[in-house]
Amino acid sequence: MQPEPVESPTVSRKWRSVLGGLGPILGLVALCIVGTALNPDFATVDNLMNVLTRTAFIGIIAVGMTFVIMSGGIDLSVGSMAALIAGSMILFMNGLAGGGHAPLLVVALGMGLALVLGLAFGCAHGLLITKGRVEPFIVTLGTLGIFRAFLTWFADGGALTLDGALSDLYSPVYYASLLGVPIPVWIFAAVAVIGSVLLNRTAFGRHVQAIGSNEQVARYAAIRVDLVKILTYMLLGLCVGIATLLYVPRLGSASPTTGLLWELEAIAAVVVGGTALKGGEGRLVGTVVGAILLSVISNILNLTSIISVYLNAAVQGGVIIVVAFMQRGRR
């Protein structure tokens, strides 16, 4: 920190931004206290792991979404994309297994396919948005319909189910634990750490933020805006692919309800976590906390029955607004 008084506004702004970042964390802490008071089972390790594991899907997608939103974009298609990737993976793996390949190889290839599809879908979004100059809202609203329609078509409106032997081999990816912590939580943590380094410690991260705060200025500063934008959508696609890798072994099936409304949950996690929807500024830690906060709310509602089930959505909505308000008050 510099001693010149000229610098002090920057310092105090920094402080305020740190305090603002505390908003969602304070909200989460408050919720946890309420949860424990209402039902002591809330604070058990098992429950904590349940909540973190189920947050992993949305959390991983939200990490990718943070980059897209921070660069001033949006992706509404992630839930449908996850569903289509899950369905394609299952069909592909069942097909390979039917062809007499070794199960382990089949699962590995299936996982590879998920990541490749995610990257490819993200790349298509990026190209349509930058080279095709179509608004991201419209591009991804379009693919939201397209992806889900294709899954429904593949599944004949029913469910696609992974073959028994493959399902048994693959299920540890969701159900197994390492050092007492379930695998999806480890992967969620790894994605969050890598994302955080990428955003705060690399040129790519700075370019994303620069484009989000002022695209024109970023262009003048010789940032390859189109390339960076395409990369953000590919990164998000990759995150959706990773989330799907973890999702498929849970139930071993994909149906037209898979990933329904995930896009809204992921966007809500990002925004509750303190990233501006208009782009430019944000925090990855906030996104992670935001995602956890959202699943803690429904967990607490499930663990208690003090209010009518008809009002669950109202409680969720209320808590989200209150947390967003705390953040605004401290900025």
Binding site: N39, D41, T44, D46, N47, N50, R54, T152, A155, D156, G157, G158, A159, T161, Y175, R250, L251, S253, S255, P256, T257, T258, L260, S298, N299, N302, L303, S305, V309, Y310, N312
Partner: protein, 317 residues
Amino acid sequence: MKSLIRAVGAGVLALSACTAFAAEKVTLGVAIPTATHGFTGGIVWWANQARQELEKAHPDLKIIVKTAGSAPEQANQLQDLLTVNKINALVIFPFESASLTKPVAQVKGKGVYVTVVDRGLTDTSAQDAYVAGDNTAFGKLPAEYLAKRLGGKGNIVMLRGIPTTLDNERYNAFMGVMKQYPDIKVLDAKYGNWNRDDAFKVTQDYLTRFKHIDAVWAADDDMAVGVLKAIDQAKRTDIKEVFGGAGAKGMVKTILDGKDKRIQADVSYSPKFIYDAIKLTAEARLKGAKLPATTIIPSVLITKENARQFYFPDSPF
């Protein structure tokens, strides 16, 4: 007043019957929701199945199947069916009861014979016939079955679908039976949205919250899949029975093969009733006859003994 409407309705009906007879051709429109989950997937499959079979059997019959993603879309399709396809009979699975009552009434006003399936209209004079599954039995049969299996004593948790009149009917029927068994405690009932993932989460939380559960009424075969996975994950052995509902092929197969000790029975609520409704309507109209005002396709208990007749391996549901 009501009888007056009925009389007028009957008059319109008689007229339309005449025209249908004179032309000796039936053009039957089928309006159903798009396949968004297992059950509606089954509806679409069975509707197309009916079209294929019946068109082959009756050269004078033409069936047009339309699927809609929302109530307004379905209302638009009704207009198209009437003006473009010139239908003289309609089988509709309304997307929503209230918002489709007026559009259906208009179609009927033009002399089209209307059969409504599953979700009743708010004004029944807008329909000629009503074919539906039995939602009361859907709740009552599992309640009686579980009460018997538990010997009238124990803890039950249950899942509900999506807040709708249909879900309420099932829930109330279940709770109505449970009133006779004061030693059975229904611990809680939360919405799982007829969806495997939500059912998985809700069950995980039930298992955290309740240390001893004897039976789960999952109220839907898709939700039962999520329930079983959550129980397996928690390695809980106290749950003796999981009861789904609707008779999805996976579940019926499980009962048939005795693959899971917790799944011993199911209750039928097959999307096949759209097939029955189309068949009944088409065959009646070809003869110029009409259907009884209400046809209830009974829900029955599926156990290992009769599971074979509820197993349709080709259906997606």
